[in-house]
């Protein structure tokens, strides 16, 4: 894929970076940083921001295309790179710069894994409430770039709600900052929002400051199983409408429930989180709602969420649909029917209108057919489908961000302004920007 680039340009780039940034470690092409079956000509691993700057400015001067890469946990969520000359491995930028327990903020380098961060914060009863399926490996920078999230989204939203400030290296090597380190700030445009979910197409985040949440004193996970999707949906909505102390509530399709509990039923996996009084009340009401919907509720241990993460981590083909909360249960039910035979694991954050689907297209149904089917089912319900992972052949056929919307013109101009030479993650964004 990247072989169109002249070896001379790569050599020139290597030499220039070595001169300017001797600390950069070079590796030869390797499976480790494959993106959509493409391998880079060279991998370089910076450990400080100025190295990132040197790599990007030299790559830009040599006309090369750079893809920032950390744990690789969310690389499937963007389009196939048009060229992939240089992989920039971000995992050596792994320092926690400043934790301010009394201010509940943390400033850290982009390559710090979420679980490592949360292990450090646990001593202070604080945490960063982001739990994407691959949280054990996923880095803060990767989560920002991919706008990755997990079940905690129910209560805590997404990374945009926690990101206070960033330092960013741009395509030409220039370094800018946006936002700040305080929890409330409207000085300057909200550039931080633009970087969330931009998949490394506008700049490379090297450092981030995030707000933290107090860890709830008590957490209890409960699974309620039902005969129908609508009963499960009503239960989830009832819990949401009652304002119960819940930090996660995932509606699981029968194959997903089977993967977790060995029973092919509809299920809502929820976690009560809060003080003892609030927990007691929440569990009591959940039990009552489950009973009213003819469901059976049982307590599970916290490890159930690790099993959820293993089951829902994007595999061969993974889709993410966004619909209105009121349409979730019905949409999941239709998708489950359509996907019968593709071992579809579906999990939906009802309150956020989010449906994750992990599919296995090797079981007889073409991936393209599955994608088109999902896209049409969701579009008829006013929603959109994005691809979280898919074989490169499928991604070449379909834009992972879905059909272009009218605001794509602004997005194209943003990319043009930020990266006129296409140095960063060339072709990977919406509309193959």
């Amino acid at each position: 894929m990247s072989s169109t680039t002249a070896p001379a340009a790569i050599d020139e780039f290597r030499a220039a970076v070595s001169l300017r940034a001797p600390g950069v470690v070079f590796q030869d092409r390797g499976e480790r940083v494959a993106v959509d079956e493409c391998l880079p000509d060279v991998t370089c691993a910076p450990s400080i921001e100025s190295d990132v700057s040197a790599i990007l400015s030299e790559a830009s001067a040599c006309g090369l295309s750079v893809v920032p890469y950390a744990a690789g946990a969310h690389m499937g969520g963007a389009n196939v790179p048009r060229e992939y000359d240089v992989a920039m491995l971000m995992t050596r930028l792994d320092r926690i710069v400043a934790h301010e327990p009394a201010d509940m903020t943390v400033t850290l380098e982009a390559g710090v894994p979420i679980t490592a961060l949360n292990a450090t914060l646990a001593a202070h009863n604080q945490f960063l409430p982001l739990d994407p399926p691959a949280a054990d490996r996923a880095t803060v920078g990767g989560v920002i770039a991919a706008n990755a999230h997990g079940p905690l989204r129910h209560r805590y939203g997404t990374v945009r709600d926690w990101l206070l400030g960033v330092r960013v290296v741009h395509a030409d090597g220039s370094i800018s900052k946006a936002g700040g380190r305080v929890v409330k700030n409207v000085t300057g445009y909200e550039m931080t929002k633009l970087y969330c979910g931009s998949f490394g197409t506008l700049g490379v985040v090297t450092e981030a400051t995030l707000k933290l949440a107090p860890a709830p004193p008590v957490r209890v996970t409960v699974a309620a199983q039902f005969d129908t999707a609508s009963a499960a949906g009503l239960y989830a909505m009832a819990a949401h409408d009652a304002g119960l102390a819940i930090d996660a509530a995932e509606l699981l399709s029968p194959p997903a429930t089977y993967a977790l509990f060995g029973e092919p039923r509809w299920c809502v996996l929820a976690r009560a989180a809060g003080g003892p009084g609030a927990i007691e009340r929440t569990l009591r009401e959940l039990r009552a709602y489950a009973g009213a919907m003819r469901g059976a509720l049982r307590e599970c241990d916290e490890a159930t969420w690790a099993a959820w993460a293993r089951a829902l981590e994007p595999g061969v083909l993974a889709l993410r649909a966004s619909v209105l909360p009121s349409r979730v249960a019905e949409t999941v039910e239709v998708l489950d029917r359509r996907f019968a035979g593709a071992a579809a694991l579906l999990s939906a954050t009802v309150s956020a209108g989010l449906i994750r689907a992990n599919l296995d297209p090797t079981r007889g149904i073409r991936g393209g057919t599955l994608y088109e089917s999902a896209r049409d089912v969701v579009a008829r319900r006013g929603g959109t489908v994005a691809i979280d992972a898919a074989p490169a052949s499928l991604k070449r056929q379909y834009d992972v961000f879905g059909a272009e919307r009218a605001d794509i013109a602004i997005m194209r101009r943003i990319k043009q302004e930020f990266d006129p030479r296409g140095t960063l993650s060339r072709g990977r964004f919406a509309g193959r920007i």
Partner: protein, 501 residues
């Protein structure tokens, strides 16, 4: 401050703005109807100010009633190279709605329809002129409300809130405007209508909605806003903690945050505010206290009971003289009336007040607050503090009489020094009011030329040049300084060059 000086083009060839000629006014008449355009000097006077001490007279004010009319009026301004300033209720605290260089003001107050309320999905689609509190009132029958609650919520509009990314006391737990906007219909500087975001939470592509909120009217005009509504909590408890020293009150704030409690609101009022408010509102704030904290927790009955008990214990440990608990809504509303009217109550005691909006990391609150009092004293000014202590967002009010020669100058000098103190403490020059006209010369303390150039790229991508709400949010450019009679610009360089925050 007239448009006579407005250059058609700056001497360096950079395009500038043109004046509103009678030809432009006729074109506006044709675009939106004569009855929706004001252009005589006496009519325009009412549109020359907002809630700051800034002034700027527009040459025409347009009152569109639809997206099409906004687009048509903006297109006229675009064709003639005339500056455009969007305006809501004019309650802004940073000069955002001031027609800094004249031109056309697009007043959105007639676009005040609540177009749709989706109770189940907790979404409302509103026009920009809808008053913040009117939206909450309209959806209250469904058990819902719109969470961002600036103190001016009885008057300020959703469009203005979006432009400034407005906050309010309940930001602490629920976030500012940006956390409650899902989608927007925008009119770009050339009149093009674009939709960004949507009704569902995840819309593929760059987060243009997030980038737009807080852009202070410099990128586009929002003509429809899709907002998230929140569920009215089943239980709310409000505590009033009375302290004999500001330091003790500040320490209590830090202790509450450090204990892992996230109240819905955590506000501080000092003795000057109490003296202004209490005789008018009778909120029950002791006149001899040095500071009071207003602390609110909401959620499940069980949770608010637990949290309120913990907060009481913390305040006692921090030497609170007294902690009162209000559970009934009438009692809670009286406490809040004291908070929300506190700044306007200052108007009874002093002819003028100047509200600042600095933010500091919460552990730095006690020391910065001490310096705020010291700086005001150095400049011979009284200062009253009422602020969002829970998120470190200070609102020192400098009290003065602008008729006293030199008073305004001293206020601006003290204001600049306080802003600088916030920045030096690792904070920001604005937490919720916006940079606007007032603070654009301080922005260089936080952002360097590259940071600002990156923001300029976003502006370019929206096709907005300096003609859209000119002289706002960015450092003073040529054509702004000479047109406004401003003093702030003189103080910024005196306090220090760019620093890295």
């Amino acid at each position: 401050m007239t448009m006579d000086h407005a250059p058609a083009a700056a001497s360096n060839g950079e395009r500038r703005w043109n004046p509103v000629t009678s030809e432009v006014v006729r074109a506006l008449h044709r675009a939106v109807g004569r009855e929706r355009v004001l252009s005589t000097p006496e009519e325009l006077l009412a549109y020359e100010y907002d809630a700051t001490i800034e002034r700027g007279t527009p040459q025409a004010v347009v009152f569109p009633e639809s997206t099409e009319q906004v687009s048509a009026a903006v297109a006229v301004a675009h064709r003639f190279g005339v500056p455009v300033t969007p305006r809501g209720a004019g309650t802004g605290l940073s000069g955002g709605a001031i027609a800094a260089v004249g031109g056309v003001v697009i007043a959105l107050t007639r676009m005040k329809r609540i177009i749709e309320v989706d109770r189940v999905n907790r979404i409302a689609v509103v026009e920009p002129g809808v008053v913040n509190l009117d939206l909450s009132r309209a959806v209250a029958p469904f058990g819902l409300y719109y969470a961002p609650d600036p103190s001016s919520q009885r008057a300020c509009t959703i469009g203005g809130n979006v432009a400034e990314n407005a906050g309010g006391p309940h930001c602490l737990a629920y976030g500012a405007t940006t956390n409650h906007v899902l989608g927007l219909e925008l009119v770009l500087a050339d009149g093009e209508v674009v939709h960004v975001g949507g009704r569902t939470r995840d819309v593929p592509g760059y987060d243009l909605t997030g980038a737009f909120v807080g852009s202070e009217g410099t990128l586009a005009i929002a003509t429809k806003v899709t907002v998230r509504l929140s569920r009215i909590p089943e239980s709310t408890r409000t505590l009033l903690a009375v302290f004999d020293s500001v330091d003790d009150a500040s320490n209590a704030v830090s202790a509450i945050i450090a204990a892992g409690i996230l109240p819905a609101a955590l506000e501080m009022m000092d003795r000057h505010i109490i003296a202004a408010v209490e005789p008018v509102i009778n909120a029950g704030f002791p006149l001899d206290a040095d500071a009071v904290l207003l602390i609110e927790v909401d959620g499940l009955e069980e949770a608010t009971t637990e949290d309120a008990a913990m907060i009481r214990g913390i305040c006692d440990a921090q030497r609170a003289r007294e902690v009162r608990l209000a559970v009934e809504s009438a009692d809670r509303e009286r406490l809040w009336a004291g908070r929300k009217t506190s700044i306007s109550a200052l108007g009874r005691l002093y002819p003028n007040y100047y509200v600042l909006d600095g933010v500091v990391p919460r552990p730095r609150l006690p020391e910065v607050l001490r310096d705020v009092y010291r700086i005001a004293e150095t400049h011979g000014l009284a200062v009253a503090n009422v602020f969002h202590a829970g998120d470190g967002n200070l609102h020192p009010n400098l009290l003065f009489d602008e008729r006293v020669p030199g008073a305004t100058d001293r206020v601006l000098a003290a204001g600049a020094e306080i802003m600088r103190r916030c920045v030096d403490a690792g904070g920001s020059i604005t937490g919720e009011h916006g940079v606007g006209l007032e603070k654009r010369d301080f922005i260089g303390w936080i952002f360097d030329d590259i940071d600002l150039a990156v923001m300029g790229k976003l502006k370019a991508a929206f096709k907005a040049d300096g003609r859209y709400n000119p002289c706002k949010a960015f450092p003073t450019t040529r054509g702004c300084g000479e047109l406004t009679d401003r003093v702030v610009a003189r103080h910024a360089p005196a306090l220090g060059t760019d620093i890295y925050v």
